[in-house]
Symmetry: C2
Subunit: 515 residues, 2 copies
């Protein structure tokens, strides 16, 4: 069957299970776009900005456990997608990141849009390849899918010169099944077992697959048998939470509470988690959060099979078959008019519907949301993994594409929302079932805290750089601009009413919550 | 005088003539922000997105002929600024691009926001350095200013680890005066002279400083003496135009008209211009636009002193002291109701006020705007140099900061405007005198043309990727969201009325022009 390179690439991606392409194409990608017409099985989702496309691919991957593709335009298009590719890299989300490039023979002419795309891609990619010919591009695509799916999951960037898309291709390349995760070593299990039998305080620090749902249940069985404690990482790609799951707290973000949370332990067993380190450095404070006297070691790395490692450890300690779950009651709605971090957290606790996907870029506002939602209806919680703000709205968009039958609730700090609000338009275009809650405090609240943390003593000019009230951003107008209906609420009963209505209907809605 | 590294850096920048910092800071930049409080002479302009900051720095540099600084947050913040740094690189705009980084000792811990900042900076920077200590940071800043000002101007990226900002610094470093431009060789002048005396058709192809105002006058004198023709590059960082200046057309953007424009010449003399090449490659079309039989050579490169080279050539050909300027009448307003590319161009021709700065990201809509504005009131025209869309609104913001007494008119394609519309907020915050005209055709019109140009035959799914009408973007609501007043116009007389009102008042205003 005759087909050009673009079509052979798209057909290969579909054969490899890639069903969605989040696109923001340009001239050099026109043959890829045209190929989408001729290939069934690839849904094209248009984004107005590349950061929306890459963030959506991250959200999609976290929920679908397989890669979507992107379609970006040359170096600058990739540049606009880098911040959310950074988050995807930290979430270990599989992404097939396709970046158009000038035709192979055209690059030497240094046309205005020419730049070093491989150089830009490297820092956010687990794998980078530039296509050399239309004949090879199907194999390149298969290699990209494999690279993205290689545990623990990563960003595979395939750079696609225009002539490799328009010249005659060689058909579809076979995509091998996803590689198996490596098995954790017996030594690691033995080491963990010795720690658990030492009689000294032990923490099971969970991340990646170990923190989701199944891993947490096994960890809880181990904890029950041994007295060890559980703690999630500060930022997690995905946790399945709520009634019927094992409640787990996160390592606090600020350095002092984080150190306090770890200081009693003599052994920290990392399961899918990385070394607990401070998000930022502060004058006079350490970077490593665990006490120097603590033995920190990995039972299973993010690359390894964490579920298998936990099962082996559970068997070794003689853990019970089921964890006893605290049957906490579903939280009740708070009373009064006041909207603050505490009351909005309790509103969420009471109102999260069963099966909801919570995309959380609440930043300061959400630091205690876990406490009020442990016993909510079962739901899935996605966090900002790489610290690069502007993920929330795109991530919610991608999660909604992956799970059309689940309600998505996007918890969004206002300052952060302003990086990639364009994704609201894609929510409207695709009729995605997303309720966005904007925490409108009209400031970079985290920076006001951080300015104090680093010992800087701010004056008016500095505080002006952290304040967003002149002019105030009008989120209802902004949402309307992108085709999404919205409401501003300033009293708690109004939040409850408007949120209830938004949860009942289908389609995107935005609530600006005055804090 | 005791001061920390941040303060010694800011004071050094001010000493080097850097008066404005376009900021989007984060935790690692808090000491730099605090230092702004203690230093007079550095205006801090807050942007909601890094692409707004870098695009504003480009627009500022084009009008001020000196660098502004940026302040960006780690690798992802730099990532968000890359697209407009790419444009600045192609405009050869001097920019001191400051990127915060983790403290030197913290990087090894691979905290979530850690990434390879130098790797990301390289492709868009003429110079990159990572600060090693607070004692050296003032010297680093001086080196960055010098690198940015080295002809023809470039992006100098200084990466600033947090501890180099908060540790004790060593005062202010001296910034040498901007390096002189190199002199074009006598051989180049002799070569050009021979071409002009050959009796064969000669084109003076102008870019960079040669195309602005003074260079164009000298080139016009040469043309008058020799019969040579003048043509500007397709995209130019800055042209001072209108009544009293030498009218000049641009090399067309599409390949076929561009080749037709060049095919009669046997000699093309580049003055500040680069080789004429196709913006993109197309199947079966060449990349180089000049005929193979044509002698294309540089009288003066962008790095060299183009004005001096033109003067030497003018003297050699015995050019008249003054060009005779065609005293074309100021264009009149068109009649009728119809809004299209032609009529809006004629509205601009009639209504551009004296001294206006036109920031042009019109893309397809603006391809013929030059023809209708040659004899407008004197004004300055800035174009999209690097082809990375999303420059216009930020560039207008920066130009208005540089020239508070000049009206800025931002001509903006709607699809492109959606990348960095956040810069409208900065216009409102800083009360900048900018009128934005959104050409609202609700499509990526250029891609519809390009899809045909590359020979792709689009179906519904492909065309969907180029169409922005579902939902339509409501620009008046979007502007209101960012604190900017706006109006939508659908008839030509309404455009004239609303534009007249917007030009009379001060401060930002947006007009959505239905096309």
């Amino acid at each position: 069957m005759a087909m050009n390179g673009a079509e052979s690439l798209v057909r290969t991606l579909v054969a490899g299970g890639v069903e969605v392409c989040f696109t923001n194409p340009g001239t050099s990608e026109m043959h890829f776009v045209a190929a989408l017409d001729r290939v069934d099985g690839m849904r094209a989702v248009l984004c107005l900005f590349e950061g929306a496309a890459t963030g959506a691919a991250d959200g999609y991957a976290r929920m679908a456990d397989k890669p979507a593709s992107t379609l970006l335009h040359l170096g600058p298009g990739l540049g606009n997608g880098i911040a959310n590719l950074h988050n995807a890299r930290r979430a270990r989300s599989p992404v097939v990141n396709i970046v158009g490039e000038h035709a192979t023979y055209h690059r030497v002419f240094d046309a205005p849009l020419t730049s070093d795309i491989e150089g830009l891609a490297g820092p956010v990619s687990a794998w980078v390849r530039t296509g050399l010919s239309a004949a090879a591009v199907a194999a390149d695509g298969a290699a990209a899918v494999t690279a993205a799916r290689t545990a623990p999951g990563g960003v595979a960037t395939l750079i696609l010169p225009a002539d490799t898309a328009w010249e005659e291709g060689t058909g579809i390349a076979a995509v091998p099944p996803p590689p198996e995760r490596a098995r954790a070593s017996d030594e690691a299990v033995t080491h963990a077992l010795a720690a658990l039998r030492s009689g000294e305080p032990v923490l099971l620090h969970l991340g990646d697959r170990a923190v989701r749902g199944e891993g947490r249940r096994i960890a809880a069985r181990i904890a029950q048998a041994t007295g060890a404690k559980l703690l999630a990482m500060t930022s997690n790609a995905r946790i399945d939470r709520g009634a019927g799951t094992v409640p787990i707290d996160r390592l606090p973000y600020p350095v002092d509470p984080a150190r306090a949370a770890l200081e009693t332990y003599r052994h920290i067993i990392l399961v899918g988690a990385t070394l607990p380190v401070a998000f930022f450095a502060y004058p006079g404070k350490p970077s490593a959060l665990a006490p120097a006297t603590c033995d920190v070691f990995a039972l299973a790395t993010p690359e390894q099979d964490q579920i298998d490692a936990l099962e082996r450890l559970a068997a070794a300690v003689g853990a019970p078959a089921e964890p006893s779950l605290p049957a906490g009651p579903r939280p009740e709605l708070p009373g009064g008019d006041l909207l603050d971090q505490d009351t909005v957290g309790r509103v969420l606790g009471a109102m999260i519907p069963e099966g909801a996907i919570i995309c959380d870029e609440s930043v300061t506002t959400g630091r205690n949301f876990f406490a009020s939602t442990h016993a909510s209806a079962p739901h899935t919680w996605l966090q900002l993994t790489g610290g690069s703000i502007g993920l929330g709205i795109p991530m919610a968009t991608g999660a909604a594409v992956a799970c059309p039958d689940r309600k998505v609730i996007s918890l969004q700090a206002d300052g952060s929302a302003l990086y990639t609000a364009q994704a609201l338009w894609t929510q409207a275009r695709e009729r995605l079932d997303v309720v966005t809650l904007i925490w409108s405090n009209r400031s970079y609240a985290i920076l006001k805290l951080e300015l104090a943390n680093v010992g800087a003593n701010p004056g008016r000019k500095a505080l002006d750089m952290l304040t967003l009230d002149d002019p105030p951003v009008d989120w209802v107008s902004l949402a309307r601009g992108y085709g999404v209906e919205g409401r501003r609420v300033e009293r708690l009963p109004d939040l409850v009413d408007v949120l209830r209505g938004a949860l009942k209907r289908r389609g995107p809605f935005l609530i600006e919550v005055a804090l």
